[in-house]
Amino acid sequence: MSALFPVTVVGSWPRPKWLLDALRKKREGKISEEEFQAIADEAVLIAIKYQEDAGVDIISDGEQRRDNFYSFVADKIEGIELKTVAEFMDFAEDKSAFEALLRKLDVPAFAIRSPIVTNYIHKRIPLALNEAKFLKEHTNKKIKVALPGPYLLTRSSWIKGISDKYYKKKEDLAEEFSKILREEIILLRDAGVDFVQLDEPVLMEVLYGPELSVQTFMCAALTAKENPRDELSFAVDILNKTVQGITGVKLGVHICRGNWSKSEEAQLKGDYYPLLPFLLDMKVNQYVLEFATKRAGSIDVFKDYPTEKELGLGVVNPKTDEIERPEDIISLVKKALNYFRPEQIYLNPDCGFGTFAESPVNTPKISFLKLKSISKAASVLRKEYS
């Protein structure tokens, strides 16, 4: 039996400056795909080393090859183009949501990009198989690969006036993404990936976005008019269709409240309570959730929703500079133990440390110390509960 309280990550690791330069050069066509991948190999090796040294049990490749956790698919799927907000602002139904976002980020519309469906889509190359293979070859640890969830991809890339020429409704596009992701999960499993995590941060936006008028650009098509319950049901259905019947790999879903800047106020706020009935309907093994940040509310939301599923418990906040002490982590885990058995609990940060390549929320040094604190807490907990 493997040890209790496995330590893992949500995915991304801050990228070194030379990797960012290479990313930019690749985008401008100044270096080839092969040249970029060779540079990224080096960065992945560094990200692996940090995680191994920190005592992480299930590691990722730090998403070093991606510009962020979802728009990288534009390179892999035909029919999706990276477009700047300036290019699709005129089509966006909820322009004020984009305005709020641009203001938060202090960027002009011409400087941020989002993947937009501009044709019928089909997979050109696997989304993350090469990442997984390289990672597997360079570590003895268990490995985790994160993929953007089907709802996130649909919501972020379908824009009325552009995408509806090819997919009349966003539901039609969701079916296509679901097929592509399902194939990918199977490929990853067969390549020896232990844990596949689907990222669905937009689900929090469906609940808390419109009222706060703070939305992410992940939500191109989201308007306040949508009924949240219908949206969440749709998200659950499409996710279940994606993972239905897949065995031999741990499947998780990660839901957070934004990780695009260090500013806590810039992110969404609100607990998981209204989401839980939907979450429990998802046919995954694990929920990877934020609980270190106060914005996520209390873990007591599980009181009314007992579950046999696993919890990927967020125990450190990737955005803050202070290192959470092992005893703080332990007391958070003990609260979770009111609703989960020890063998149900995995420990991880609330989110990645470098979700967006150009605006990592922390330095490698602090990220490393935070992970180390988690593994210290895990070894204390293992002694107590084994």
Partner: protein, 177 residues
């Protein structure tokens, strides 16, 4: 049935009024206003984004523009006229006065436009004087209409903005993509 004056339901009108008196958070929200303007990529053509609205701002052809919309300095006049109009309808409704027709004509005079072109530094390139003429048709006496107009002028956000020196904080940054 609800009483409607000037197309405004008095019930809603009064409720909003009460809300503004009590709800400090709401009041502070409506103290801040945003806009974003993008250059359309060629010549004097700009697109302004305000909440879910967008519109075009340009320059007349005799100033080298494509005249695809009003110019910035014309918008200022419009804003002043619209602000007085809003205040007028607001104050008339408050007094339960039905208005039949309301229209304002605005005329602004620039101090020295050559400063804008870099051809003079004598005066300044802003408006020195703006005349706003309002025409009202309503079943009310002159005195009441005059009171309403004065309240609109006195309470006008745009009027006050123009009559007082506003602190403008201009910032620029070079963005490399």
């Amino acid at each position: 049935m609800a009483t409607v004056v000037n197309g405004i339901k008095l019930e809603d009108f009064n409720a909003l009024h009460e809300e503004l008196k009590r709800n400090a958070e709401f009041v502070s929200k409506i103290h801040k206003w945003n806009a974003r303007i993008r250059w359309a990529g060629s010549g004097f053509n700009f697109t302004s984004y305000v909440r879910n609205h967008k519109f075009t701002i340009s320059e007349p052809s005799d100033i080298g523009g494509a005249d695809s919309g009003p110019s910035a300095h014309e918008l200022i006049l419009t804003a002043l006229g619209a602000c007085y109009s809003t205040g007028f309808i607001y104050n008339a409704t408050k007094r339960n006065i039905q208005i039949k027709n309301f229209e304002v004509a605005i005329e602004g005079e620039i101090d020295d436009i050559l400063v804008f072109f870099g051809l003079s530094d004598k005066g300044h390139p802003g408006y020195k004087k703006i005349v706003v003429k309002a025409y009202v048709e309503a079943d009310a006496d002159e005195k009441t209409i005059k009171e309403i107009w004065e309240a609109a002028v006195k309470g006008s956000p745009v009027g006050n903005t123009l009559q007082r020196g506003v602190e403008i904080v201009p910032q620029v940054s070079l963005v490399r993509k």
